[in-house]
């Protein structure tokens, strides 16, 4: 029973050694940030930062950090620092260090020393084995600091001595050429080493042992979470920044500024003119826009919802309320889950093979609607079923005990209670299909940058006739554009050079932005709906 030292119930205030370890963690964070900055080319590695070239700064900091961590580990082993280490750093850590040093040894042997295969394999095994042993055999304080610190020092020295200097280039020598340059390699290696050392320092801060591991792991998990959020923020912010100029080009307010619209027989001018969303692409436009694509997207969604929602909710009602739980419901569940994960391009293929020949043998809005409807269907079934299962059986029992029939119960109790979940699910699903490109590429794509006059007018397109199919709507049977498709064609076809769109890049980013706005709008509404219902339930 090693390490069973009695820990005090209440620890004293932060000790100096803890402060040192915390400092090391902070330094690692700084180093990580610096290396990210140079990966993203905010600073180049030759730029002077605080008087020294970036490369030297990174290298120097790595050496300092490496030594700090090793010193801490050794100090702990010698008893200068009060810690609570386990007898070993553990298999996972040892394995990871072994692997890292295996790679380092192999690369140095083969690339720097130029040894042959046998040579580098031996070198790899030696360094890897040594790292494994160093981390597995001694106590945890040595085992988790020494290999990490040594790696940082090694990398730092390599950078400082210029073995990997600013002009360093490693051609992988593959037939299809690829190589690593210093601009990329140095920051990435630095980032990696700083993560490793930061982790070791965090462990040291926690005094190793259970608490040390806890803190070490938390540092990494928090970093991961922050990165994901930062990435999301970056993506959206970047698109917004790039897209805003194009989106609001020519925006004007004022009475009569906008185009004329006719509502319920009254014609009036909108008080706002927003060319990008009110125009198509046409010769005489001052500012070109994507109105047909926006309207196309809206109709697509409307059509898909009209198709999928009744069908999906109906199916969910049947399998939840009527069918006995057994084979049949299982099959339906597997089928719906399977459908939900089916790649969208496969839905596109299906639409191409099944719908297009049956709907006037051409790509059409209707085919696009139905294809997206097929995609939406499983989600509606799944979410409706989930929300209906979440309706407590007590409600059903209570209703049955009042002598109320099943369908009445479903209609008056189950569906209303499940409505929040269903609505939320549908809105989120709509967000997904509104952004889909692949299916409509195969079933609906029309002209790439249609003029405003070619905006679909589904409502106005209905015609009655006396022969089957009685009701026709040529607007539904024609291909039109949709935002994701418009963006796709703008990317791939480079349309614009010959479509008299002047600032094509601005136009593309604005299209991306408005697509993002439309889709994220659906998501935001969906999520907000969920919060609304949830808070409402909590209040009641």
């Amino acid at each position: 029973m090693a390490g069973a030292t009695d820990t005090a119930l209440v620890s004293e205030d932060t000790s100096e050694t803890e402060a040192v370890a915390a400092g090391a963690v902070g330094l690692a964070a700084v180093l990580f940030a610096l290396s990210l900055a140079s990966v993203f080319e905010l600073v180049t590695i030759t730029d002077p930062v605080a008087g020294v070239p970036m490369v030297a700064l990174l290298g120097g900091l790595l050496v300092v950090l490496g030594f700090a961590v090793v010193t801490f580990g050794v100090g702990s082993r010698l008893g200068y620092v009060a810690t609570d280490p386990r007898p070993t750093a553990g298999l996972l850590a040892s394995g990871t260090f072994g692997l890292i040093w295996f790679v380092v040894g192999g690369l140095v042997a083969s690339q720097t020393l130029g040894l042959g295969t046998a040579g580098w394999v031996v070198a790899s095994l030696v360094t890897g084995g040594a790292a494994f042993a160093v981390s597995a055999l001694p106590r945890e304080d040595i085992g988790s600091t020494l290999p990490a610190g040594a790696l940082a020092v090694f990398a730092g020295v390599v950078f400082l001595t210029g073995v990997i200097g600013p002009s360093w280039l490693w051609d992988l020598g593959w037939e299809q050429q690829a190589s690593f340059n210093a601009e990329f390699t140095i920051p990435v290696l630095t980032a990696f080493c700083s993560l490793l050392v930061g982790w070791a320092a965090a462990k040291a801060y926690g005094g190793f042992g259970a608490r040390g591991r806890h803190i070490g792991a938390y540092v990494l998990v928090y970093l991961n979470a922050i990165s994901i959020i930062a990435l999301l923020f970056l993506l959206v912010a970047f698109t917004v920044l790039k897209g805003l100029p194009g989106l609001f080009k020519g925006l004007a307010f004022g009475a009569g500024a906008g185009p004329e619209v006719t509502l319920v027989g009254v014609t009036f001018s909108l008080p706002v003119s927003w060319p990008f969303v009110m125009n198509g692409v046409a010769l005489l436009n001052d500012v070109n826009g994507v109105l047909p694509a926006i309207v196309g997207t809206i109709w697509l969604v409307v059509g898909a919802v009209l198709f999928a929602v009744p069908l999906g909710i109906g199916a969910a009602v049947f399998i939840t309320e009527y069918a006995d739980r057994g084979r049949f419901t299982q099959v339906v569940e597997i089928a719906t889950n399977g459908l939900w994960s089916t790649p969208s391009i496969v839905f596109g293929l299906f639409g191409l093979a099944f719908l297009v020949p049956r709907l006037g043998n051409q790509k059409s809005l209707l085919a696009g609607m139905l294809t997206l409807g097929f995609m939406l269907l499983p989600l509606v079934v799944i979410t409706s079923r989930e929300s209906m299962l979440a309706v407590p059986d007590e409600y059903r029992d209570a209703s049955a005990a009042l002598g109320v029939t099943k369908w009445q119960t479903v209609r008056s109790i189950v569906l209303p209670a499940a409505l929040p979940g269903i609505v939320t699910g549908i809105i989120l699903g709509v967000g997904r299909i509104a952004g889909e490109t692949a299916p409509i590429l195969l079933t609906m794509s029309g002209s790439v940058a249609p003029p405003g006059s070619q905006t679909v007018d589904v409502l106005g397109g209905f015609q009655l006739q006396y022969a089957p199919p009685f009701v026709t709507n040529p607007e539904l049977m024609q291909a039109t554009s949709a935002l994701p498709y418009q963006l796709y064609s703008l990317i791939t076809a480079g349309v614009g050079q010959s479509s008299n769109i002047s600032a094509i890049d601005e136009f593309r980013w604005a299209t991306a932005l408005i697509l993002l706005v439309v889709v994220l709008g659906f998501y935001a509404i969906g999520i907000a709906t969920r919060y609304y219902f949830r808070s409402k339930l909590q209040h009641d």
């Binding site: 006995d324 739980r325 407590p392 007590e394 409600y395 059903r396 029992d397 209570a398 209703s399 049955a400 005990a401 009042l402 002598g403 109320v404 029939t405 009445q408 008056s412 109790i413 209303p416 209670a417 009641d540």
Partner: protein, 316 residues
């Protein structure tokens, strides 16, 4: 106290099939012991309860299985009209199962299969062609935890009659001028009065019923059941989730209801059973009805040793 210990210890030694070490059964008591209870044969006469007037419900030889699990074993029992009948017994003894047989709510449990006969005023409930909807209108039910619908208080009350088509309040009815709005108001008031809830909620009939306190919710559920004008009211531990005040209100209510309705109530609280019921049926582990009779008699002088043990708190 140490005697109690002794009994349970013995019980443990003999009856527990899980035990690896085979302790000797040696007991010097005349009764055998089983799962913490004294063992004895159930006698027919213990469950014969004489009463004046008609039997509202008569159950004979009722067996219920959940899959292979025999949850009720040949239970026979007559329940008199306009009285409160309490069902007591340890957890899992089949009280709820029995209760649900009385309005065929057990039909809703897929695993349950039922054998035997239950008659409501002489009419067999377990035969083909029984109209379940009609049956459940006549035999109402209130559940253990209050389960109002997530609707307004008034809608909760009028729900049953509306769905039965007795009241018409839809949009269409309104448009056609056929709406029974007045009748609805009257019904709501009457039912809430009966359930002693009117005074508390009459100014917020359109509020969501989920905003009521637990006790109010449970009374609302009773009012909801009363609104369909049943003859029998089944209650499955209606007060188990409630605080003492709410409980005592419900108890008073049950007492009052017995004037017009036949009430059958399950409870795990013996004091409660003693307080409110006219006759008491005791079920014990294994789904047997062990004793049934006047409440006073059952509590003060039970005929079965096991019932006595149970009532005096030796197990359960």
């Amino acid at each position: 106290m140490s005697e109690t210990r002794q009994t349970t210890d013995d019980a443990q030694a003999t009856a527990d099939s899980e035990l690896a070490g085979g302790a000797s059964p040696g007991t010097d008591q005349p009764l055998e012991v089983t799962s913490g209870e004294t063992r004895e044969r159930t006698r027919e006469e213990w469950v014969e309860h004489e009463f004046e007037g008609e039997a509202k419900l008569s159950v004979s030889d009722l067996d219920v299985y959940y899959g292979d699990d025999h949850a009720l074993k040949s239970v026979s029992m007559e329940i008199p009209e306009n009285s409160v009948t309490a069902l007591i017994g340890p957890s899992g003894c089949g009280k709820s199962t029995f209760l649900r047989c009385l309005n065929r709510m057990n039909d809703r449990i897929k695993a349950a299969s039922i054998d035997g006969s239950v008659r409501l005023e002489g009419e067999e409930l377990y035969q083909d062609g029984v109209n379940l909807v009609e049956l459940r209108k006549r035999v109402g039910m209130v559940f253990q935890s209050p389960n109002p619908f997530p609707k307004s208080i008034a809608d909760n009350i009028s729900y049953g009659p509306r769905k039965h088509g007795d009241l018409d309040t839809g949009l269409l009815a309104n448009l056609l001028g056929r709406s029974d709005d007045d009748a609805v108001d009257e019904l709501v008031e009457r039912s809430l009065q009966q359930a002693a809830l009117w005074d508390e909620v009459n100014d917020r009939l359109d509020d969501n019923a989920l905003g009521l306190s637990g006790g109010q919710q449970q009374r609302l559920c009773i009012a909801r059941a009363l609104a369909t004008d049943p003859e029998v009211l089944l209650m499955d531990e209606p007060a188990s989730a409630l605080d003492p005040i709410a409980t005592s209100k419900i108890e008073d209510l049950v007492h009052d209801l017995a004037e017009e309705y036949t009430v059958v109530i399950v409870t795990h609280n013996m004091q409660q059973a003693a307080r409110i019921s006219d006759q008491t049926a005791v079920f014990l582990t294994g789904g047997e009805l062990v004793e049934y009779g006047d409440t006073d008699q059952v509590f003060e002088d039970p005929q079965s040793q096991r019932v006595e043990d149970y009532i005096s708190g030796k197990f359960g």
